[in-house]
Each structure stands twice: as structure tokens, then as C-alpha cells.
Amino acid sequence: MSTLTAAQPGKAPRHRGWVLPIAAVALWWLASNQGWSQSGLLVSPEKVAITAWEQVSSAQFWRAIFASLARNLSGFFIGTTLGLMLGCLLGFSRLFERLVGPSFNTFKQISLFAWIPLISVWFGLGDVAKVVFLSLAALVPVVVNTCDGLRNVSPALLEVAKVYGFTRWQTIIGVMLPAALPSIFTGIYLALVYSWLATIGAEYLLVSGDGIGNTLIDGSEHFMMDLVLFGMVIIGLVGWGLNLIARHFERRMQRLYGITPR
């Protein structure tokens, strides 16, 4: 999804982008200081800032963040590795595609989070269940994009390889994989986005242990709006950071293989 947002170059006056958020924060500040609402949910920006500082300087918060990230990354790596293997099999072998493809396409339609109750019964509520779920979340986009990339290699390139008398192995290494690389990266990138989303979801639904999702749920249960807002910002920031890292790697790999960015 966020790949779409990257397309716009920022030529325009940059200050315009700041108008809306600053106005919103000013309005929020006014609303809470003037007491426009008696609801305890309208916390002031200062309170949120104080909570944020308390959280950042507490060990508990960092433990939660690292627990979430560790889960996220292990699920991501397992899911991506399995996804690459499955995607390559589906992309290279027609027979395998006939065998497994339709089942997989049906399987991926089932809403991801519907698996959580089953997973929780089979694997418990602990880290194992979460990592299994995260791998599942990361697996699907990688498989789909790897298979698509390999299937959509331009026939012209394949013909060239044939004309030069490439063996099948040479064709795969020298032609098909590099040509499919952008698509494969899109899959991995999506997997990173999905697995972070799934991390939060898993921590909501499989409540046990530390995690940033649990922090948020706690805040929500105790009507602590400041904690909830802080947690949301953290989730957004971590997602954004993961995005940046993924895009950086994507660009480096593309340069390595001499592929012009899309």
C-alpha cells in the first residue's frame, strides 16, 4: 500500500504539509485547556507528552517494544523463507502449480485473522502461536508475488536465452530470477508491512506476555487515553521505520542487479 505513496515527488512548498497537523494539535490543545468537553477521554497534549516521556524512560516499555519486534522479525523471516521456496516451486513447475495453486488461492482468501482462534487452540497463547501466525501473514504476499514475477518474465527474454543456447539452470539464474526480482521484492516488502500489522493483531487476540499491542489494550481497558495515543504513535513510527529499511534494501539490491527502480 505504502508503495503508492512513494510516487509523489515533493516539489511543492513543504510548509503546506505542516498546516493541517499543526492546526489540529492547536485545536486539540484549545479544546482540552478550555474545557470544551467534560469527558475524561479528552486528555491534553501535555499529558500525552508526559506519559510518552514516562514510558520512554521505563524499562517495561522497551521490553514490550523489543518483544514485539523480535516476534515480528522472526515471523517475517520464517514466513518469507517458506514463501520464497513455495513461490519458486509454483513459478517454475507447471505440475506443482496445477497441484497446489488452486488450493493456495482459496486458502489465501480466508481472512487472515480468522485463523487466530484455531492457532490459539493448536499452539496455545504464547510466542509459538504468535510466530506461526506471523509467518502465515508474511508467507502469503511473498508466494503470490514470487510466483507472479516468475510467470510474467517477458517471453522475449526467454527466447533470447533459448537462442543463446542457455541450459535450463542458466535460464533460471541468469534470466528468470533477475527479471522477477522487482516483483519478489514487492512481495517481501508487503510481507514486512503485513507482519507488523499481524503482530499488533496477534497481541490483541492472543493476550499473553509483553508487547506493544498489549500496552495498547491495557490502556484501552483502563481508560487511559494518553497511553493509547502514545501507543498508536509508536506503532506508526515502527511501521514507518520498517518501511524505510525495506525500501533501502530494495534499492540496494536493485542497484546490485542493475535493475532500474520502477
Partner: protein, 303 residues
């Protein structure tokens, strides 16, 4: 890039005399004349037989058979994996008692209302940003920043604001649908083929004509892609929202079954969720294909 390579190779082949070594390749006629090398395997004949049409069923049937035998022989306890017959029984019970219809219609209403609100707003937002650079400059950075927080991140916040009633579901589902629809609409405006715009300008089109005759027709198909994505997201978040906070709906059935450790109920509900999602997605895919077919005529396949 791929095209560039292909054409340059074609041009190289024009002076045929210099390429004598290539002609000496003896193996070429032996190979099957198929263009796609993967299909040209010795077992290529399986493709034409009825056997090949049965292949996709092999895996699910094997799994089903294993599941059946496994539960028959008691490899796994019934609490962990109920036998397929019981799941089927539960499913037909759900249908005959009308529970299924009650919950499915609750879910479908939610997802439809949320999706309509979200995609309507998304199209308006995308149109506004796509048509006016000023609006885009003001809105897009904030929008991009807010998009970084996934729907699930908003959930505790929305829970506090709206309670666990119907509005919560509508808001979250609408939000889930809004994001892809807005981004795809905006993207559609940015991706209008440059050549078409130049043609319009060459013919002295007014700004309005350019928008109505060139930009909008070529944007319809991508916008529809956004709608399809938006619906997928809406369906996904519906399940999450119902799992976490609801007293009816398909997601609630799943959560309820899990609480009672009735895995047969969970599985039956998962099957229903999957089937409904699949059907809706197929419907969207069909319309999308029709639209894209029309697109070749209207907008041309100009890069």
C-alpha cells in the same frame, strides 16, 4: 528495459551473415516447438488429459482424507481437531437453525455500510487531491502520516471513543476501506498516460475537457482496483473487529466457538468467512476484468 533488450537483439540479427556460429546450433529443431520452455517437458501430455483437470483436487482431497483417517484412528483428540463429519454437521445445523443467516447478515450489513462510507469518502478525497495540487500539498503529508498507523492501531482509540456498539465497527471498517481507495484514486490521477494528455493539449482541449474526457476515463479501472483492495481490507478488519468486540456476526461465532472450545463451530465459521470473502472477491475480479478489457479501447495501453 526488457523491451529495449529485445529490440536491440532483433536488430542485431538483421545482418544474418555475421551470426554464423548461432546457425550452427544443431539442437534447436529437436526441441518441441512450444514457446514457453516450461511447458515443453516430456510429461507435457498430462496437460490435455482429464487427469490434469483432476490435479487441483488432489491436494485438498488428500488433506481431507488424512483429516478423516486421523480423527477416525484417534491420532488427535477431538478437542484439537474435530472430525470433518462433525464440522459438516455443525455447518448444516447453523444453516437449518437460521443462526448462520442471522450472523452472516449482521456481518454483511456492517461491511457494506462501512465499505460504502469509506470508499465514498476515499473517492472524494482522492479526487480532490488528484484534481488540485494545492489540496494535495495540504492533505497528503498528514494522510501519509496517519496511514502509517494500521487499522488495528486505531482500534483501542476507537474503542474508547465509540464504545463497542455498531458505530465502532462502521468507523473501523470505513477507515480500512478508505485508505486503499484514496491512494489508488490519487495514483490513477498521477498515472494518466502522458501521451494522451499531450494529444489533448495539441487539440486545444480546455482544462475541463481534459479532466472529463481524458483523465477520468483512464482513471476508472485503477479506481476500481482500489475499490477491490478496499473491500478486501474491509472484510479483513470486519473479522478482527468482530473477534474483539461484538455480540453477533461471523467473527463473533468464531470467538464464541473458541471460548467454548467448540472447534467444530470455529471451523464451520471460518469456512463461511472464507467462502463469502472468496465469492465477493471473484465478483470484483470479474468486473475488474471487464473494465480492463474496455480500457484497452478507451485509454490505450500507452505506457
Amino acid at each position: 528495459m526488457t523491451r529495449a533488450i529485445a529490440t536491440s537483439v532483433d536488430q542485431q540479427q538483421v545482418p544474418a551473415k555475421t551470426l554464423a556460429p548461432v546457425k550452427r546450433l544443431p539442437a534447436a529443431p529437436v526441441r518441441p516447438a512450444r514457446r514457453v520452455p516450461v511447458a515443453a517437458r516430456p510429461w507435457a501430455n498430462w496437460q490435455s488429459t482429464t487427469f490434469s483437470s483432476a490435479l487441483p483436487w488432489l491436494l485438498p482431497l488428500t488433506l481431507l482424507g488424512l483429516w478423516y483417517i486421523g480423527s477416525e484412528r484417534g491420532w488427535l483428540s477431538e478437542q484439537v481437531l474435530p472430525p470433518p463429519a462433525i464440522v459438516f454437521q455443525t455447518l448444516s445445523d447453523l444453516v437449518s437453525t437460521g443462526d448462520l443467516w442471522l450472523n452472516a447478515s449482521a456481518s454483511l450489513t456492517r461491511v457494506l455500510v462501512g465499505f460504502l462510507i469509506g470508499s465514498g469518502l476515499g473517492i472524494v478525497l482522492g479526487l480532490a487531491m488528484g484534481l488540485s495540487k494545492v489540496v494535495e500539498d495540504y492533505l497528503l503529508p498528514t494522510f501519509n502520516a496517519l496511514v502509517q498507523i494500521p487499522v488495528l492501531g486505531w482500534m483501542p482509540f476507537a474503542l474508547l471513543l465509540f464504545g463497542i456498539g455498531e458505530p465502532l465497527k462502521y468507523v473501523l471498517i470505513a477507515h480500512a476501506a478508505l485508505v486503499p481507495v484514496t491512494l489508488c484514486t490519487l495514483q490513477a490521477f498521477h498515472q494518466v498516460p502522458k501521451r494522451l494528455l499531450e494529444v489533448g493539449r495539441a487539440y486545444g482541449f480546455s482544462q475541463r475537457q481534459i479532466v472529463t474526457d481524458i483523465v477520468l476515463p483512464s482513471a476508472i479501472a485503477p479506481i476500481f482496483t482500489g475499490l477491490r483492495l478496499g473491500f478486501t481490507k474491509a472484510w479483513l478488519s470486519l473479522v478482527v473487529v468482530e473477534l474483539l468486540a461484538s455480540s453477533e456476526g461471523l467473527g463473533y461465532l468464531i470467538a464464541y466457538g473458541r471460548q467454548l472450545f467448540q472447534l467444530d463451530l470455529v471451523m464451520a465459521a471460518v469456512v463461511v468467512v472464507g467462502t463469502v470473502g472468496l465469492l465477493i472477491d471473484r465478483g470484483f475480479e470479474y468486473v475488474e476484468r471487464r473494465l480492463n478489457k474496455g480500457r484497452v479501447v478507451t485509454a490505450g495501453k500507452l505506457p
